[in-house]
């Protein structure tokens, strides 16, 4: 199993904050690398407001997208991960080192706001992307340590 190094995230100045510059598109782009996103991808605020969120419009490859910029729930952050840079400094050949060693990831940037885009529908609370946040509450409940009092309450409930 690989490791994820989150240490850089603790220092606000060492990594870029990409809040509101992270977009989740309803498509797969078979390309990895830098691109002039802001030059070509130009979201505009639209007139429509849904569930208190102002929707946005943008076009990508000739298709109209409708999106919303959302804040990540408090207590959570978004991170952009990349292969740890010290990997190349080892002087090993890239291809072999990647396959033989356990991958090591590190935080390259963080964000607390992001925009997700729908193709055929206006953003709403029913979108899978927003619904996936439901997990946060459940995870919290599941992982909360069980106290003696909890156990007592449950056992009493069982008798009654």
């Amino acid at each position: 199993m690989g490791t994820i190094d989150l240490r850089a995230a603790a220092d606000e100045n060492s990594i870029a904050n990409l809040s509101s510059q992270v977009h989740q598109l309803p498509c797969c782009i078979r390309f990895e690398g830098p691109a002039q996103v802001s030059h070509y991808f130009k979201p505009k605020s639209s007139e429509v407001e849904i569930d208190g969120v102002r929707t946005e419009e943008a076009h990508f490859r000739g298709r109209k997208l409708q999106g919303a910029t959302i804040s990540l729930p408090s207590g959570y952050s978004g991170f952009v991960l990349g292969q740890a840079s010290n990997r190349n400094a080892n002087g090993k050949r890239k291809a072999s080192s990647l396959t033989e060693e356990k991958p090591c990831w590190e935080v390259k940037a963080k964000f607390d706001k992001m925009t997700y885009w729908n193709h055929d529908s206006l953003p709403s609370k029913d979108d899978t992307f927003l619904r996936s946040f439901h997990w946060f509450n459940i995870a919290e409940a599941l992982h909360k340590p069980v106290t003696v009092e909890d156990l007592v309450a449950v056992s009493h409930g069982g008798k009654g």
Partner: protein, 275 residues
Amino acid sequence: MEFTPEWASQPCLMGIDEAGRGPVLGPMVYGCLYCPISYQSSLASLHFADSKTLKEEKREELYESLKLDKSLGWAVDVIGPRELSAKMLAKLVLDMGVFLTEAYLDTVGDPEKYRIKLSARFPSIKFVVSKKADSLYPVVSGASIVAKVTRDRAVREWLVEETGEDINRKFGSGYPGDPETKAWLEQHKHSVFGFPSLVRFSWGTCTAHLKGEVEVTWESDEADESGNGNSNKRQSKLSRFGFTTCESRSEEIESSGKGRCKFFQARKIQQITQF
């Protein structure tokens, strides 16, 4: 066009026409013009002609004068090429409370088939679908002016609003056969983004131009193709980035929550065990 005219309760006729079906640049615009049938004779005296035969200044002039004419109503719809808009305009005008009894429009397809389709949708309207309707019926000529002027203005506005400093404005007629248009497309294509938003991507010519560019597959297209399709057309998998899920056949399972409890499936949450 926001308010319903006083004469709307009289029997009315409407013409519908579109602009921009041919060019690969700019939106396609549907325009409609409607008026009481009793006004039809005066309509002929307004010198509306097929917008293609008119010079730009003349079109603009006629457009401004028809906007001021209290006996005429008009509406436009700027659309993507995949939508069918004659229906939308007819519905819009009916919803405004206009007593539409006749509608005239042009078609590139089979006029009779189109007429039957529209009549089925709007039984209270008599449809006249004909080739060259824009030169045969003044009400359609008027609609063609509304559509063409709106389209030209949209293209001009796009140039003002959206062009980056390095976008050259000489794109010719916008028709795919025009060498200037072709050169412009070639010059402004980007391997990831394709063309600037002025370009109508669904146009066949553009598809040809984009061959060899970065492949983009859309979730909505995959939903259209029922069945399991081929896996390389699907949403990017985390495994591509070195993440694997706990399922043994990880290639088959995307970040879809497949094979998990309904709660996770509905939210497309997948568990990651290797990274």
